[in-house]
């Protein structure tokens, strides 16, 4: 009998009985796994996040991230591991320090091609307008009672960039990291649904048929790139200087992105570094980021009204960002003879290259010869810079 009693105590049944909301979290984990595996929503991140939620919510496994306290923040790595388990060790070493998002940005940079942006530089400007969702949702969130820091971390979901959202959440509102990461990656996966939705109510058929290549023939650009290789090597250095001087607090993100891009563009001389940035470090960082972010989500921290507001607010921020980009193009078209397809504004969002593909597909639906992928990529990539800069501004003023 005593044996059976001890056996029961070893299991998680008791703990689950005490806190049945844990079952809701386990169901959520299964739902996220379904989204990641079955629906193929950003599986590279949603699967580890979902498995992190799963592992964290079996009481007794010691795999959930303990909310930050004064005490735990001053413990050594070994102390954290022994008292709180390896998941906390990884969280306090890799996430709470803010290390992984810059490393992932380095990998993103090593996989980004600034070529389409350089070939259509003017369109990069529309990556700015698509940040408006960040700040409008910030204001709404403040009005709803969120603190400024929380509101900023919520708004940044509208930047449509996973690592940027996570980095900002770490710096401004780490207690909201879980739902913000989930919202950011889920909506990025939902870009093929959200962009058409916003486009439907804002762009007329006539505008959707604007053919960028024909406009280029009518009003040809004066600048032709003669030495793309050399231009692509110098460009990230120039970009780094501009961003770093104006918004130094975005250097950890943008600087690492551009370093990754530089070692890619140099070519074979730095191929080893490129492989390390875009594969070795990137892939390992993705696993650890996903698992630990997932492990922050326990019943006690996740299941409240705030989470719902973040899920809702994130959607609105996304939609307003797309709307902002579209409107900026419309304003441009009022004053310019050379017209731009408003879909180019919609892709200012970030979510590379998904947003561009979606925009291209919409354009092709209205005119099967209207390939605008290369044009969309320009504002799409500049949207990544744009949201990292916006994050830098928020961090600079609020942290």
């Amino acid at each position: 009998m005593e044996v059976l009693n001890k056996l029961y105590e070893m299991t998680a049944f008791g703990a689950i009985g005490e806190d049945p909301l844990t079952l809701v979290m386990l169901a959520l984990a299964l739902f996220l796994l379904y989204l990641g595996i079955g629906k193929r929503f950003e599986p590279l991140l949603l699967v580890p996040i979902a498995f992190g939620v799963l592992l964290a919510n079996f009481p007794g496994g010691h795999m959930s991230v303990t909310p930050s306290t004064e005490i735990i923040e001053h413990m050594t790595i070994l102390e954290i591991a022994k008292e709180h388990g390896i998941m906390n060790m990884l969280y306090y070493m890799l996430i709470k320090t803010g290390l992984l998002p810059p490393l992932i940005f380095m990998g993103v940079g090593a996989m980004t091609d600034f070529g389409p942006m350089l070939r259509n530089l003017k369109l990069a400007f529309f990556g700015a307008a698509a940040q408006i969702g960040i700040f409008t949702v910030l204001i709404s969130a403040v009005a709803l009672g969120f603190s400024l820091k929380e509101a900023a971390a919520l708004g940044i979901i509208g930047g449509a960039d996973g690592p940027t959202a996570i980095y900002t959440a770490i710096k401004l509102a780490p207690h909201l990291l879980g739902p913000i990461a989930i919202a950011a990656y889920s909506y990025m996966a939902l870009v093929p649904v959200i962009i058409p939705l916003v486009v439907k109510y804002t762009i007329s058929e006539k505008e959707l048929k604007i053919n960028m290549k024909e406009q280029d023939k009518l009003y040809p650009s004066k600048v032709k790139i003669k030495d793309l290789h050399r231009t692509k090597i110098i460009f990230p250095i120039v970009l780094c200087a501009i961003v770093s001087i104006l918004v130094p607090s975005s250097v950890p993100l943008v600087g690492m992105l551009l370093f990754g891009n530089l070692i890619k563009e140099i070519g074979s001389d730095t191929n080893r570094l490129m492989v390390a940035a875009s594969e070795t470090i990137m892939n390992a960082a993705t696993i650890f980021l996903g698992l630990t972010v997932g492990a922050t989500m326990t019943a006690a921290t996740f299941l409240d009204k705030t989470t719902l507001l973040i899920i809702l607010g994130g959607f609105i921020a996304f939609a307003i960002s797309i709307f902002g980009g579209i409107m900026a193009v419309k304003v441009h078209n009022l004053f310019s003879k050379k017209k731009i397809n408003p879909l180019i504004g919609a892709t200012g969002l970030s979510a590379v290259p998904m947003a561009s593909r979606v925009a291209n597909d919409i354009a092709l639906k209205y005119d099967s010869k209207n390939h605008l992928l290369q044009y969309a990529m320009s504002s799409n990539i500049s949207g990544v810079i744009g949201s990292a800069v916006a994050a830098g501004v928020l961090i600079s003023f609020l942290s």
Partner: protein, 88 residues
């Protein structure tokens, strides 16, 4: 509460100004960069070929040849992911 809203509005202003300013500078300096590099670039045709091969260190014709062979063999399902050159 009100001052928080005020701060939020100031953030909106500063944030959007900064983003627009930076991307404007990117467009301008990018154009200047292209012009400067163009000025020092040798005859365009030869240079463009060199540029396009330097990313992988393999000439496009070679890539095309390898890709064609692989596609023939795999019936179009396999794709060449990367072609590495070794140091001499």
């Amino acid at each position: 509460m009100e001052s928080t809203l005020g701060n939020a509005l100031v953030l909106l202003a500063i944030g959007m100004i900064t983003v627009f300013l930076i991307l404007a500078l990117v467009v301008i300096s990018g154009n200047i960069l292209i012009k400067i590099v163009n000025k020092y670039a040798p005859e365009p045709t030869k240079k463009l070929t060199r540029a396009s091969r330097s990313a992988t260190g393999t000439a496009p014709e070679v890539i095309a040849a390898i890709t064609a062979v692989v596609e023939t063999v795999t019936g179009g399902h396999g794709k060449v992911e990367r072609i590495n050159k070794i140091d001499k």
